[in-house]
Amino acid sequence: MSKNKKAILSAWDVVNISRHPNRPILQDYLSLIFTNFVELHGDRFFSDDLAMIGGFAEIGDQKVMLIGHNKGKKVNENVERNFGMAKPDGYRKALRLMKLAERFNIPIITIIDTPGAFPGLEAEERGQAEAIAKNLTEMASLEVPIICVVIGEGGSGGALGIGVGDKILMLSNSTYSVISPEGCASILWRDAKFAPDAAEALNLTASALHKLGVIDEIIEEPGEGAHTNYGKIAESVKSSILSNLEIYKNFSVEELIQGRFEKYSGIGKFSVNN
């Protein structure tokens, strides 16, 4: 019996699967592979951003700090969760929980799924740039292992704000981009309708990013996408998270920090001329 051959998908096909209305989101993985979730709220400064959730959780027999974007299902939930677009308050909550994980000495799992950081007036007023920058800087020297999983859309700085991990995993139909294909098309192609061309050029698929050495692992989705088999994708994500956590079990803090610094120092392609 021959294996089912997967159709070769264009980058734009992948973008559409990553945005599929029935694609599993953080709250689905929460109920399927994490147990005893103790949700923690607030940034201790301004509000509790519902686009970003976090708290203590167990995966397998591992106690972790789980943090991630939650887009919500159905329109009313989407609006409540701001479609997974966090404000500075969300990044500050994430940072508070990451520092808590460091104090308690438990690993951090971040689940990334966002169209981008929220581009609103109040977000700008409350320092969207500073909140993300602060997270990037703090995550670089956190003394516990950090595993990041892109399950849907990795929307630029909005994703990276919880994405500076020791390992970056991506679901096979997820995307990670410096700008949305629509945004890129409207600037470089003068028209958002060229989004499919921009998507291709941006190399925003998991396979492209894995080839470029930017991400560490692709988690294969079942059939036509994660939305077709929640149980199967959940098992794959669980197994991947656990095996990556295992890698860091015996790392010293020095090894961990040095390894993370070397990882990010090594990302980028440029020419050194003589």
Partner: protein, 278 residues
């Protein structure tokens, strides 16, 4: 008005611009006066653009500046081609036009006798965009400061992350911040100077992480673009939105410093640092 039409007539006749028109107050300023005033309008204090080398000349004591890492240039790693052509053509043109090989110039020298490492971004090079080479130079300069126990100053001027390198550009935000994190750990001062414009992925990384964040007057400092925000909220935004003055009001920068005072301001704040590091 007769004098005005004479002025415009003279402007049209000569190829060489005798005057600069201030972008803010629309005054006509003699080019020599503009340049003597450090590309700042003597009428309204609008701070015009300045090249990386011009800024370096203003900043460092004579004959103390040494450039570092100037052998780094872009690569078209994604083979990116858009409506206007290839990324390769774009950066090769930028290199020819500006004489620099990436959107940041790095080096070290003395500022009123205080040795410091400096990275100066140049908006002329692909809009000062943050690409792999930019991030690499900024990190290498940070590492140089770390290894030699020298303060680090970054002058930002950028339209954000460079799209043509995709997520490689995005990751430069994390890479440069990792460099800043190490300086923080060693208690080495890092000063961020935000100049016009400082936006997107640059504002959301090293530019906002200075021990001091200072900026020039009237600089555009933003995360998201004004139009995107207006479309998102469906409202008009305040006139001073995303300016240095707005950020000062909202608590995100320490001070606004005129270009002519920048050198002395920097050496003054650095003089307060009194650690001995081994």
């Amino acid at each position: 008005m007769a004098w005005y039409s004479e002025l415009t007539a003279i402007k049209k006749k000569s190829k060489e611009d005798l005057w600069i028109k201030c972008k803010k107050c629309q005054s006509h300023i003699y080019k020599s006066e503009w340049e003597e005033n450090l590309n700042v309008c003597p009428n309204c204090n609008y701070h015009g653009s300045i090249t990386s080398y011009e800024r370096i000349n203003l900043l460092f004591d004579k004959n103390t500046y040494k450039e570092l890492f100037n052998n780094i240039s872009p690569i078209d790693s994604l083979k990116f081609i858009d409506l206007k052509g290839s990324y390769k053509d774009k950066y090769e043109t930028a290199i020819k036009k500006t004489g620099i090989s990436e959107s940041v110039v790095t080096g070290h020298g003395k500022i009123n006798n205080i040795e410091a490492v400096v990275a100066v971004m140049d908006f002329r090079f692909l809009g000062g965009s943050l690409g792999s080479g930019t991030g690499e130079k900024i990190l290498r300069a940070a590492n140089y400061a770390y290894d030699n126990n020298l303060p680090y100053i970054i002058f930002s001027a950028s339209g954000g992350a460079r799209m043509q390198e995709g997520v490689l550009s995005l990751m430069q935000m994390a890479k440069t911040c990792a460099g800043v994190a190490r300086l923080n750990k060693k208690n080495i001062p890092y000063i961020s100077v935000l100049t016009n414009p400082t936006t997107g992925g640059v504002s959301a990384s090293y530019a906002m992480m200075g021990d001091l964040n200072i900026s020039e007057p009237g600089a555009l400092i933003a995360f998201a673009g004004r139009r995107v925000i207006e479309q998102t909220i469906g409202e008009k935004l305040p006139d001073d939105f995303q300016t240095s003055e707005y950020l000062l009001k909202h608590g995100f920068i320490d001070s606004i410093i005129d270009r002519k005072n920048m050198k002395n301001y920097l050496s003054n704040v650095l003089s307060y640092y009194s650690r001995e590091i081994n």
